[in-house]
Symmetry: D4
Subunit: 218 residues, 8 copies
C-alpha cells in the first residue's frame, strides 16, 4: 500500500496529518482523502495544482479548492477562531504563499489579519499598518527578494515572528536561498524560519503559539 495514514497524530501533536500534494497523483490524493474521511477530522491538502484538484473533486466534491492557495480543504465543522495571527508580505508576488498560510491558519481555528505588499522599499506602508500588526499574538512575515522586511518587523513587535522566504526573485536570488539565509542571520531577535515557500509550516507553528496564548486579545 502506498500510504500509512498516521491516525494518532491529532492525539500526539494536536493536529491531523496534512497531505503534501506535490509528489502525489490525483488517485493517490483521493485515496488518502477517502481513508481520512473515516476519522472525523479536518482534511487539508497543500500544493495541489488546479488540474489535479479538478480530478480529485470529481470523486470528492465536498472538498473546497482555493485557486490562490492551491489547497483542498474539508472542514468537519466551522472551527471557533481565536486570535490573532498577522500575515505580512513584502510584495504582491508573495501572495500565493501567504494564502497557503491563511487557509491553514483558519482551518486550524485562528483569526487571520492579512497585510500585503508592505516591503521596505516603501517602508511607510509598513508603519501605517503597525497597530494592526501589533494586535497579533504571532506574526508571519513572507518575503522574496532579500527578505529585509523580516528584520524590520522583528525589531518592532514583542511577539514571535515566523519568517517565510519565497522563491520570488531572479539571478543571485537562487530560488529563495538568498532570503532564507538573510532571515536566518537577522540582526533582530525573535525570528525563526521555515523552508522556502512553506506557508503551511509557518501557519502550523503560528497556530500552536496562538493557541498557547489562548488567543488572548492584546
Amino acid at each position: 500500500e502506498y500510504a500509512k495514514i498516521d491516525t494518532e497524530r491529532t492525539a500526539r501533536t494536536g493536529y491531523p496529518e496534512v497531505i503534501y500534494g506535490a509528489g502525489k497523483s490525483a488517485a493517490q490524493i483521493t485515496g488518502i482523502v477517502q481513508a481520512m474521511k473515516q476519522h472525523e477530522q479536518p482534511i487539508l491538502a497543500t500544493r495541489v495544482a488546479a488540474d489535479k484538484a479538478a480530478a480529485v473533486l470529481t470523486q470528492e466534491p465536498q472538498l473546497k479548492y482555493d485557486e490562490v492557495a492551491h489547497t483542498l480543504v474539508l472542514s468537519v465543522a466551522p472551527p471557533e477562531r481565536i486570535g490573532e495571527i498577522a500575515i505580512v508580505t513584502a510584495g504582491t508576488s508573495d501572495i500565493n504563499v501567504a494564502e497557503e498560510a491563511a487557509v491553514t491558519a483558519e482551518l486550524f481555528g485562528n483569526e487571520v489579519t492579512r497585510i500585503y505588499d508592505v516591503g521596505v522599499a516603501g517602508i511607510q506602508r509598513l508603519f501605517s499598518k503597525l497597530d494592526l500588526i501589533r494586535r497579533a499574538n504571532v506574526v508571519i512575515v513572507i518575503a522574496g527578494m532579500e527578505g529585509a522586511l523580516t528584520s524590520v518587523v522583528g525589531g518592532l513587535v514583542d511577539v514571535p515572528v515566523i519568517a517565510v522566504p519565497t522563491s520570488v526573485g531572479y539571478g543571485s536570488h537562487l530560488n529563495g536561498l538568498t532570503p532564507l539565509l538573510s532571515m536566518l542571520n537577522s540582526c533582530a531577535a525573535g525570528i525563526s524560519v521555515v523552508n522556502i515557500d512553506n506557508g503551511f509550516g509557518a501557519a502550523y507553528n503560528a497556530s500552536m503559539i496562538n493557541h498557547l496564548a489562548g488567543g488572548k486579545q492584546k
Copy 2:
C-alpha cells in the same frame, strides 16, 4: 561613537538589547555594559571568550561569567521564572550551545529543563525522557551531525519546536549547514529554525512563546 544603545528596545519588543560579544573588544563590551547599567535592566553578553571576559570583569566585577555558555550576565533582580522550556540535545558536544540557550532563558524568566545526549542513534534514551519533554510549553532541540533528532521530537509533541543546528561534525557536515538544511526540510510540522549554534536566538523565541502561554503548567 562606536555604539548606539537601543534603550527603547524593552518597550518595543519586551526584551532589552543583548550584546553580541564575538566581534567586539573587551573595552567595547565594558563600555556598552557601563552605558546599559544606567537603565535598570538585565544585561547579557553572548559569545564572550574566557580571556575577554576576564578583562571585562576587572572593570565590572559584578557581572557573572559562565564558562560553558560563554556568557556574561548582570541580573537586576532574580526574575520570577515561569515554565517551562525543555532544552534537548542530541550529543554531548552540543552542550555549549545548549547552555547559551539555558542562561538566556533563565535570565528572561523561564524555568528550564535540560535533557542532554539523547540523539536518535540510541532512540530509547529519548523515549525515556518523553514525559519530561511533554511538560514544556516549547521545546528547543539542539543537534549537530544530521540533526535527525528534531524531526523525531517534532512528531511526538504538541507544542512548537525551535531547532538549533550546531557546528558539531566534519567533512560534508559543512560546519553546520547539513543539520540546518535538514531541520528546514523536516517531515514533521511544528518546527522552525534559527541560525547554526544560535542558542541565544532559540531561547529568545522560546521565552516569548512561554510567556504568551503564561507559563501554564501542562
Copy 3:
C-alpha cells in the same frame, strides 16, 4: 560505434552490465538490448521513460516494462530468490525509487520485503514494522525531505543500511542534496550512501551483501 558492451562484466563482478536509459535514444537502447541478447544473461535497463519504452517494445516485445520503476527487464530464467532485503521508504512519493530498487533486487535473485510510508513524523508506524525489518540481511532506506528515517533505522538494526536520498522535497531541499548530506552525516553507524534517487545502485549493493550472507534466514 556508439556502445562497447562489457561482456566480461559478469565474470569480473558477478553481475552483467545494466543499461542506463536516461541519456540514450530508443534506437540506442534497442541496439544494446539486441547485442546483449546474444550472451545468455538477464537484461535490465533503468530510467526508461514510458514513451521510450513503448518504442523499444515494438522491436523487442519480450521485454517487460514497469511503469512505477521505469525499468525494462528481460529475465533469462526465473532466478532463485534468497533473502532477504528490506526496502523501507519514508513517504509515498519515494515509491518510484523504491520500486527501481525492488525490480533490480528481484532480478538479481533476492527476496524483497516492502515497507513503505513509515517516516519519522509518525514514528510508531516504523516501530510496528520493526520485526519485519529485522529479518533482513540488509536494509535499504529511501527518504526525501530531511532523510531522518535513515538514522533511526540505523540505530535499531544489526545489519548494513544502504541509504538512498530522493529528490522529493522543495526549496532548500536542493533536489535531494539535503537528505544526501544528512545521510552522510548520520549519528548512527552502519550506514553507507548512494547517489540521489539511485534505487538501482542501492539494490546492487544490497544484493551483493545478501548473497555474501548466503541469504541466511535470521
Copy 4:
C-alpha cells in the same frame, strides 16, 4: 621584478594605483612606496596588519598608520575636501570596514559623515539620522548579518547607495556571502554592491560620484 607600478593610472582613471597590502611582505610594500614617492601623488596602502605597518614605518616614517582602518597613507598635500559622502553602518563590528572607506574618501578629497550602529533591529536610530544622511551626494551602507539596512536606506534617499557586505556574522552567514546576496537582491532600486569588506572600493566609487556632482551641497 615583483611589481610594475602603473604610473599612468591617475591620467587614465583620475586616481593613483593603490597598494593592496594583504598579500605582500613589508619589504615589497616598502619597495613599492619608495618607487611611488618619485611621482608626486598620494600613496595609500590598505589591509596592512599592525606588525607589517611597523616594519614599513621604520623605513618610511612619514607614512601614517590607522589602527582601525589598517591603512598606511602618505598625503602629498592636504586635499580640498568637497562633499559629502555619508558612511552608515549597521553595527559596531562593521567599523573597521567603515574606517577603511573613510580614510580612502578623505584622502581622495571628500567630506565624510559617519553614522555608525544604526541597524534595523532598532530602526528609530536610523530615522533620527535621516536628515544627516540625506545631505550626502552618495551613501555608503556597510552591514554584516543579513544586511537589511541597505534596502531600508535605499528606499529613503534619492542618491546612489553603494552597499558593502561585511564578514561580521556566523554560521549560515557564510563569511559575508549572506549580506552580499541580500544586497544584490534588494527590493529597493538605486543600490549597487562591492565585494565583502571592500570599504576601499566603496569609497573609490563614492568619490567619483561625489566629484561628478561637484560636491554640491544639497
Copy 5:
C-alpha cells in the same frame, strides 16, 4: 488588495515605483498601471513577456511594448535627456539586458550611447570605441561568460562603472554566478555590481549619477 502603490516614491527617491512584471498576472499589471495613471508620472513595467504584454495592451493601448527589452512604457511627456550614459556589451546575446537598461535610462531622461559586442576576445573592437565611451558620465558594462570586459573598461575610464553580469553562458557559468563573482572581484577599482541580468537596476543607478553630474558634457 494585492498591491499598495508607493505613491510617495518620487518625492522620496526621485523616481516613481517601477512594476516588476515577472511574478504578476496581466490582470495585476493592468490594475497597477491603471492605479498609477491617476498620478501624473511615467510608468515602466519590466520583465513583461510578449503574450502578457499583449493582454495588457488590449486594456491599456497607449502603453508601448519593446520586444527586445521586454518593457511596457507610458511616458507622460518626452523627458529632456541629458547625458550621457554609455552602455557597453561583451556579446550579441547580452543585448536584451542592454536594451532593458537603455529603455529605463531614456525614460528617466538620459542620453544613451550603445556600444555592443566588443568583448575582450577581440579587444581591438573595444579600443576603437574608447573615445565614445570616455564621453560618458557613467558606463554600464554588460557581460556574460566570464565578464572580463568589466575590468578592462574599469581600468580605462575615470567615471563609475556599473557592472551587470548576464545569464549568457553554460556549464560552470552557473546561470550568471560566474560573471557576478568575477565582477565583484575585479582588479580594477571604480566598479560596482548589480544582480544578474538586472539592466533596470544598472540604468537606475546610472541615471542618478548622470543627473548628479548635471549631464555635463566631457
Copy 6:
C-alpha cells in the same frame, strides 16, 4: 548593430571567430554567416538546434548541418589534415560532445581518431585501445558521471590530455560540476580542463597543440 565580427582574429590567433549559436536567433546567425562569407575563411557555428539550423539553411543552403554535433559548417576548401588527435569518451551519452569536438578538429585540419564508450567500469575496453590512443599528439577525454577515465588515461600517455566534463549524470552530479571538479583535481599530471560540454574548446586547444607538433606521426 548586434555583432562586430572580429575579422582580424585569424591573423592574431590562427583561427577565425566561431559563432556560438546557443544565444542567437536564426536571423542573427544567418546575418553573421553572410558577413563572414565576405572574408575567405571557414565558418563554424556551434550549439545550433535542429530547427534553428533548418531556418538558417533556407537562406544559406551551402552550409552543412551535423545532427549529432549540432554544428553548422562552411568549409572554404578541404583542409589538409595532419595528425593526430584522439577523442576518447567514457560512455555512449557523451557522444554529442565528442562529435562537436571532432567536427571542430577536422575543420581546423586535424586527423581524428574516435574511441567511444571505454569508461573505467570495464577498464579492459580502454586497454584494448591503448595503442591507438598513444599514436596521438594530444588526447581529448570526454566523460560525465565521475570522470575517472581522465585520470586513468592521463597516467598512461606522454602527451597532453584535454579533459571535457559532460552534463551526463543525475542527482549529486550537479549537471557536470562533479566531473569538472574531479578532472581539476586529478592525481595524474598532464591534464588541463575546459568547461562542461565544451567539445569545441577542447578541439581548439588540441588543434593548436597538434599543429605545434607539426602533426608528426609517433
Copy 7:
C-alpha cells in the same frame, strides 16, 4: 550530566557505542571510558589528538593509543579475527584515515589486508595487487584528490566497495567534497559512500558485511 551511554547498543546493533573524541574534553572522554568499563565490552575512541590522549592515559593507562589512527582502544579480549577486509588507498597521505579504519576493523574481529599508495596515476601498482584485493569479502577504498581509484576497483571486484573520500587535496578539492561527489557518481556499480575521512564508518560497515559473509575465505 553530559553523556547518556547507550548501554543496550550491542544488543540492538551488534556493536558497542564508540566515543567520537573530536568535540570532547579529555575529562569527558575519561568519564565516558570509566562508565563504559563497567559493562564488559571493547572501548574505542576515535579522533583523539595526541595531547588529549596523553591526558586520558594518565587516568586510564590500560588504553592503547595509536598515533597514526588517532584512536584509543581498550580490548576486553583478543577477538577472533575472521576475514577478510581489504583496505586500499590511493596515496600516502590517506594513511591516517586508512589506519582509523584498520584499527576499527581489527577491534571488531576482522582480518585486514592493507594495500596502500596504488592510485590510478600509476595503475599498474593496483593491478599487481589485484589478487590480494579479490580475496576480500569487502573492499574499503580510501582516496583524496579526485577519488578515481574507487571506480577502477569497483569495476574489478565482485564484492561491495565502501568508498571513503579524504580531505587530501587543495583548491577546488573543497576539503574532500570533490572525491565525495566523484564517488557518489561512480560509473561502476557496487559502491556506497561514507563521509569524508570517515575511516571508522567504513570499517563498521565492512565488519557487518564480513561477518554476514561468515568471514568465508574466497
Copy 8:
C-alpha cells in the same frame, strides 16, 4: 609501506613521479627521495614548507630548496633547455605560484620567460610585453582576483594558454573559485585550466606542449 614509487612513470608518460609535499612528513619526503635517488632521474618535491625543507636537507643536503617556489629539487644533470614557455602573472602576489611553475619548467628542460604584474587594471603593461609573450610556444597565465588577464591574453596569441587561478583575493573570491570559474568560462578560445594555485601542473602541461613543438623558435 607508506609509498609505492611509480618507477615506470618516465617510460610511460615522459616524466618522473613528482613528490607532493603538502600532506607528508619530513621523514616521508626524505624516504621517498632516497628511494628515488636509486633510479637516475631528476627529483622534484613541491609544496614543501621552509621548516620541513630544512629537516629534509639535514639528511639530503644535495637537494636545492627554493624559498619562493617552495620546491626541493635534485637535478641529475643540467638539462638542455629548449623554448620557450612564457609565464605571465596579473599581480605581485601570484609570484609564488609562478615560481613553482618556473622551477618545474626549467627542471623539465624548458626556457622560461617571466612577465609579472601585468594585470588588466593597467592593460598597457601587458601590451608593452606582447612581443615577448608572442615568442613562446605556450603561455601560462596566472591570476587571482577575477582572472580577467587570461581572456585578454587568450585573444592575443596563437598558441595554447594554460590558465592557473590563484587563491589571491578575499570575500566572494572564495579562495580562488572565482578566477577558476572565470577562466573556465572565458570568451576567448584556446584556454584550458588547471587547479587553483597549481603552478606545477601548468608547467607540466606546458613542457609537454613545448617539447611537442620541438622548442622551435617563433
